[in-house]
């Protein structure tokens, strides 16, 4: 994390914009710098509607064309930072294709066109006392603002960050700064396999029981978190992703198979009925 990034605020939500709660806004890019070998942090000044974003919601970003690429669709990006005090939103992303290659060309002062906030974010049950976050890779970006939400609600947060190597552990400082207890597991240290993570989670739960679990970014971690939430009989949510057409619930391209209460598999739109789903209904990441 760069030292110049302002700390996220826990200021109360501004009043939602009246007629059009979702804005198609032009945000001014404040910074767009690498945070490690693979990920970049994009910060932009945003309007009141965008600043109503909650943890787990996302924006549809217009990715600028480059000499090589002309991304046609917008790209969905979950909000990583909601800084209401400084009027900024932030996105943590990995350059993987033509959309994110375009995003990486934005420099301070440029315009970032962002539609949002979109989708359903995380919902903490009333009275939640100890939140478990389990994430790998860029899934951490999606879960980071949940720490802010949980702390504001008076809950403690323990975050398990899984990555290939310590340099790839995202958000460590950001999460810690917001008051989460952060535990890193990495492939290089040899403690990120499912058996060890499961043992770790069981030990933590025995020390101080979790009453809410959230996960994002890894199918194996999803399955583990789902199984443990069921065993411990605690509420859980998973933030999912999909390649989207519109991101606004219109095209039905981003559907995900989920298990309905009846037991049958139905499709739900990641953009509209998600991206945050109940952990019982999701099948795989």
């Amino acid at each position: 994390m760069t030292a110049t990034c302002p700390a996220p605020s826990t200021a109360p939500d501004p009043a939602p914009a009246a007629a059009f709660p979702i804005a198609d806004t032009a945000c001014r890019v404040v910074s767009n710098e690498p945070v490690n070998a693979e990920y970049r942090l994009l910060l932009a000044e945003a309007g009141p509607a965008a600043l109503t974003a909650e943890a787990g919601q996302f924006f549809q970003l217009k990715c600028p064309p480059t000499t090589l690429d002309r991304p046609f669709l917008r790209r969905p990006m979950s909000v990583y930072r909601i800084d209401r005090q400084n009027g900024q939103i932030g996105f943590l992303y990995k350059v993987t294709g033509k959309g994110t290659r375009g995003l990486s060309t934005l420099v301070p002062g440029d315009t970032l066109e962002a539609i949002g906030p979109l989708g359903l974010g995380f919902t903490l049950p009333a009275g939640t006392r100890h939140v478990l976050l389990v994430a790998r890779g860029v899934g951490l970006a999606t879960l980071t603002p949940l720490v802010q939400m949980a702390r504001a609600a008076g809950a403690e947060v323990t975050a398990i960050l899984s990555a290939r190597n310590p340099a790839m552990v995202m958000s460590r400082d950001e999460l810690a700064a917001q008051g989460a207890r952060v535990i890193e597991v990495t492939d290089t240290a040899g403690d990120s396999d499912m058996a060890q993570v499961e043992a770790l989670l069981r030990r933590l739960h025995a020390e101080q029981p979790f009453d809410f679990a959230a996960t994002c970014g890894s199918n194996r971690l999803l399955q583990l978190t789902k199984a443990l939430s069921a065993e411990w009989q605690i509420a859980g949510q998973a933030a999912m992703e999909a390649f989207m057409g519109c991101g606004m619930g219109m095209c039905y391209a981003c559907v995900l198979p989920v298990t309905a209460p009846s037991g049958e598999t139905i499709f739900k739109r990641v953009c509209r009925e998600g991206p945050v789903f109940s952990i019982e209904e999701v099948q795989s990441w």
Binding site: K62, L73, I115, A242, C246, M250, C251, Y252, I266
Partner: protein
């Protein structure tokens, strides 16, 4: 003051701009003012409840997308009870869109949803006819005519036939739809295409084949509108790669009375509102007082000028 209103049969639109079926939904009203549009066209419904095709459902190209959604449908009761009330309050004609597996079901569904508040019904004839080995109704002039006749026999609500571009002679299909009583033609649905992922050696869409849409298809569909305009006298609604006011005017000049914006709604929610303003400014700039005068006003390059162009230039 430019008169932007156009007439699609008995339906008056305050301007020629409307969304293509399936490209807006309830979420759109949270972002833009639907009350400014010429009409609101709803997503296609089927008589039965459908989940749609297996994902992935979209692949992206330069200026185009390939979608295969498979018409997920909550059925006609949901349309009447839940969808229509959402769009009733905008003071804009609401156009339903229907599809079915048989001619009879097209007729039954048209009758069932002919409720107050449904200004017209679009017949999406691009879906497979289960009694013709899955060939789309719209690929055959007689099957297209049968669908339109079945709907006209069961309702007084205007019927707009939305043609498929996946045919050899679009004018022939257009004439068949007109003869069967269609009140207007929507030209057209999506071009069939497919995409393969070379690295994992699989199709990029769960359904393998999908519909190509977006600005890249505009020249193809514009050509079809031009051909259909020579063949029929009922109004034509152009639909294919329209992303802005200039695209819309091109379609009007080629013979369309109104236009539908599709894929662009997914990317630029303000596109339709911006286009309405652009069209008005265009008319003013060209001394056109009524937008309907633009329909078919393209002048031949090697012949004498059209009356309109002679008048304004």
């Amino acid at each position: 003051m430019v008169d932007l209103s156009v007439q699609i049969g008995s339906v008056t639109l305050r301007n020629p701009v409307m969304p293509a079926s399936g490209t807006i939904a309830e979420g759109f009203a949270e972002i833009v003012d639907l009350g400014r549009l010429g009409a609101i066209v709803l997503k296609t419904i089927t008589p039965d409840i459908r989940q749609g095709t297996q994902p992935p459902r979209v692949a992206e190209f330069t200026d185009a997308t390939l979608f295969s959604i498979g018409i997920p449908s909550k059925g006609p009761d949901y349309l009447l009870e839940s969808t229509l009330p959402v769009y009733a309050g905008f003071g804009v004609p609401v156009v339903a869109s229907v599809s079915a597996d048989s001619v009879e079901d097209f007729g039954t569904l048209a009758a069932y949803i002919s409720a107050p508040g449904v200004a017209a019904i679009e017949a999406n004839v691009s879906c497979p006819n289960l009694r013709a080995h899955g060939q789309a109704f719209g690929m055959d002039p007689e099957a297209t005519a049968e669908v339109i006749r079945a709907m006209k026999a069961r309702t007084d609500t205007p019927i707009w036939a939305k043609l498929t571009p996946n045919v050899g002679d679009i004018a022939q299909i257009a004439r068949a739809a007109e003869a069967a009583g269609a009140d207007a033609l929507v030209v057209s649905n999506a071009l069939l295409g497919m995409a393969v992922d070379a690295e994992n050696m699989r199709p990029r869409l769960g359904n393998v084949i999908g519909g190509l849409t977006g600005n890249a298809v505009k020249p193809v569909i514009l050509r079809m509108v031009h051909q259909v305009a020579q063949a029929v006298s009922i109004p034509i609604i152009g639909c294919g790669g329209i992303a802005n006011g200039e695209d819309a005017v091109e379609y009007l000049l080629a013979g369309a009375t109104a236009v539908q914006f599709g894929t662009v709604n997914f990317i630029e929610p303000a596109a339709m509102e911006d286009a309405i303003a652009w069209i008005e400014a265009y008319c003013r700039r060209h001394g056109v007082t009524e937008v309907r005068a633009l329909t078919g006003a393209m002048s031949p390059r090697h012949d004498q000028k059209s009356p309109l162009q002679s008048a304004v230039l």
